[in-house]
Symmetry: C2
Subunit: 528 residues, 2 copies
């Protein structure tokens, strides 16, 4: 731990700068070992200028090299052992067990993308062969594959210091498909970032890839992050964070002489609709699971259920009581940083100051400010107030949620129509409830990227069918996902080869299919 | 023809407005029958407000309905018979045979998308089933499909009044996948637009779809077009036109409270690299084919080769002579509109005023200004001048092209690196040339969406393997195409269903696969 060098990783070399910062632990406010250099604009320039030529070399590598790179990174993360977990605990206050799980998820993700790289079918090869006799004109030979976009700038996220940070899903997606990565490290976990970056640097070296394949810079998003996104060599951006920061990056990217795509995952309330039958049948069970989900990780999940809609009825009292009991029993927890705690408290208090909202329940134990703790709180309001006060539909990051009591099941559809874009939306209902709910599921499908029945949204599987992305402001482009195998689609683009001689075609498009990948030939899919 | 009503198609009703305009024929300047209402902002509001609820109804239709809709439109276009072709000829000055071919292409495109709608596999269904025994936590049941984004605003293009206009590729892509369409008609062919819109209106009615499924408005892009893109109900934009107009729409979309995706196809020089062996072997053949391609449709193709790079050598003189002869023999042609002709002449003259450029050859016959004619011209410059003068790398829409003579084959790679994003890039070379060209093909793959060997870029096949889209400024998002079956991917987004009971799932995701579509189940593709 004392061996943290604090330098920026600039295309294979370590760079120190005069300005620096230290990390302190949210667990006790203590300053942690390590003094981290704040990257200069010269570092930005050097990283991006090295990434541009590295892109061509990296794009030309085969799937085996990329698979080995990703596997080497996964192995390297495990080899860091307890040192990584201990530093991450100290920097983020997340419990060791959670971070061990997150490391497993991160490594699993790297291995899944390694498998995708090795298989190679992600290039979506399509072949429409020459038709020399077609009338009125012959058809040329046309073959299409997807290739990397070029250097991707990735912003480390605070709340998943491993799975959505330096070697997280954005980096894995970009490397899998042959794009160099320049990471803007999150300020709240610089030591964890350095440890992971060291692993990636060594993996890049051991795979014989150009140094520009990977860089990591410390610094402010508004300075270093913005400069990275503005740089001519930057071809795409992956970001997970606040709505304000995501919007700022989207605006910077859109204002470039050549706008580039940004996938920003930003803000979601993850509404939960509790239908009358479910409310009557299992009020305590739903209440407990809801509070467990909203307080998981001290409410610092992007899929935290921040809104619950329920219909006024005789059964509601039991649900309210059970929620109040569950949140009272929820222990306060340390948040990721004092800034995040301050934003939570301010957001929560702003909500409670809205006329028509009241506290439904809160943690019985007091939060310890010296440990950056937040205490959970669930508020309650009515449907009319919710519709009238736009502020109530804003995300409060942390253990906060709002129960909205409406008058009738029909009002639930009104609420659904009123919502902004969401990562997820959930319905709790009996089979009869669901049958009677009409188009509620469809309405939510218009608003959210993932629909859940009788579950809770926290917990995002890494698999083929996952969608982690929804209409604005959940993400900046609902057509893509940042979790699951489809996440790689953000950083690739198609190129068509017309009448190119077989020997000059990329292997994926050659007649003999030397890579043995899945392709669409004359509209028919197969490995022929 | 006299029966043109000139009204706007506002969600099933025809709306007249006090302000109007007429069309005149570029062939002779005569005013054409019909007086067209300029849509009001109230028309914009009415069209978009009807599109929003229509989106939900249309999204819920099956593939059969959408296929029938597209086929009915194709049949309706054919039923318009000569009236459509005659009006299009009069409005655009494109030759009848070209427009008959374009109509066939448009209908073929509609039928191809009808087949895609009927097959239904475009939803990219993925199923990862529940794993109740997984440790440490069970995996929920996760199923994903793609669904329509919602109302799409389509801008008719001037240069393909059928294939890239009211019922063109953007409209077909959007309707195929269940998105309502609001078309901003191009001002240069309002009568053609009205005839086609009438066909779509009747097809929407005969399929029992809500009137908000389709609207068409006449008016200025800077007023009506901008208002459509700004409207909260607009979910995506398809555009083909100038770089300035495309950029303006991208900026409007990016500045919305909720930015939306724009697919704008804008500007491309479609560079052609003639390698030394090819230059020596077939100078006259390449020269003739090049001039034929650059003057095709009076140079009004987005894939017109506007740049040719060749290496100084003893063989170059023959090529230059052949180009000069071919362009001298090229008959002047009527452009699409006086505005477009004026822009062509101004752009051409600006280029010729750049020190270091000279006329290589031009059409022997004079252009007739009363017939809106442009005469073809090929200019020549050297590599150093091209690199020094950014203006020379701007598109001039019309029969203009620039031959850039460089000193060595290595300079060709320098030129390739210097280029902006392109729709296409072409290499002419013998097998020996191509082998010696090193990474030229790869360099061009970094810049363009389609690479052509020993051909010319005009002629864009509608097939699976086509890519019509490249890095900025060729298009606004190189990850998508506006031609070919993949064009539908612009207007759909994934939604994941977690633990949703089978009966409530969309048919595409139900266990029994009642639609019989291709799906990815547990990572394995098939129709099971």
């Amino acid at each position: 731990m004392d061996s943290l060098h604090g330098m920026n990783f600039v295309a294979g070399s370590l760079q120190k700068s005069p300005r620096s910062f230290t990390a302190s632990s949210p667990l006790d406010g203590r300053e942690l070992p390590g003094r981290f250099s704040i990257a200069s604009l010269a570092d930005v320039e050097a990283a991006m200028l090295a990434a541009a030529p590295a892109a061509a070399v990296f794009a030309a590598t085969g799937g085996e090299v990329r698979a080995t790179l990703l596997e080497t990174i996964a192995a390297g993360l495990m080899e860091l052992g307890d040192a990584l977990i201990e530093r991450a605990v100290a920097e983020t206050a997340l419990p060791p067990a959670r971070l061990v799980g997150e490391r497993a998820r991160t490594c699993g993700q790297l291995q899944l993308f390694a498998a995708a790289a090795r298989d190679g079918s992600w290039v979506d090869a399509r072949i429409d062969r020459r038709q020399p006799d077609r009338q009125p004109l012959p058809r040329p030979d046309l073959r299409r594959l997807k290739r990397p976009l070029g250097p991707v700038v990735v912003f480390g996220s605070s709340n998943f210091p491993l799975a959505f940070s330096v070697a997280g899903g954005d980096t894995a997606s970009a490397l899998c498909t042959g794009n160099p990565v320049v990471v803007k490290a999150h300020r709240a976990h610089p030591g964890t970032s350095e440890l992971v970056a060291g692993v990636i640097l060594r993996a890049v070296e051991s795979c014989g890839l150009p140094p520009g394949t990977f860089s990591l810079l410390h610094g402010e998003g508004s300075v270093i992050g913005t400069a990275l996104v503005r740089h001519p060599a930057c071809r795409a951006v992956g970001f997970t964070g606040s709505r304000a920061a995501g919007r700022a990056l989207c605006d910077v990217a859109a204002a470039r002489p050549d706008p580039i795509p940004v996938f920003a995952e930003m803000s979601s309330l993850n509404p939960v609709f509790v239908l009358p039958g479910a409310l009557a049948a299992r009020p305590a069970e739903i209440a407990k699971a809801f509070v467990a989900s909203m307080t998981l990780g001290v409410g610092q999940f992007c899929t935290k259920p921040g809104l619950v809609f329920a219909v006024e009825s005789g059964d509601l009292a039991g649900f309210r009581t059970a929620v109040a009991e569950a949140i009272a029993a929820a222990a306060p927890g340390s948040m990721l940083s004092p800034d995040i705690l301050a934003a939570f408290e301010s957001g929560r208090d702003t909500m409670l100051n809205v006329a028509g909202t009241a506290v439904l329940g809160k943690a019985a134990a007091a939060a310890d400010p010296t440990r950056t703790q937040a205490a959970g709180l669930v508020a309650v309001t009515d449907g009319a107030t919710f519709l009238a006060r736009e502020r109530l539909a804003e995300e409060v990051f942390g253990p906060w949620s709002l129960v909205v009591v409406v008058k009738s099941p029909a009002d639930l559809r009104t609420m659904a129509r009123h919502l902004d874009g969401q990562l997820t939306a959930t319905i709790h209902g009996t089979p009869e409830d669901l049958a009677a709910a009409g188009d509620l599921l469809e309405l939510l499908g218009q608003k959210a990227g993932r629909l859940i029945v009788n579950g809770f949204p926290t917990g995002v599987e890494v698999c083929h069918a996952m969608q982690h992305g929804g209409p604005w402001p959940a993400t900046s482009d609902s057509r893509f996902t940042s979790v699951g195998t489809a996440a790689i689609e953000r950083f690739i683009r198609p190129v068509c080869y017309q009448d190119v001689p077989d020997a000059l075609l990329p292997a994926a498009l050659q007649d003999a299919n030397p890579l043995g990948i899945e392709r669409i030939v004359e509209g028919v899919r197969g490995r022929q």
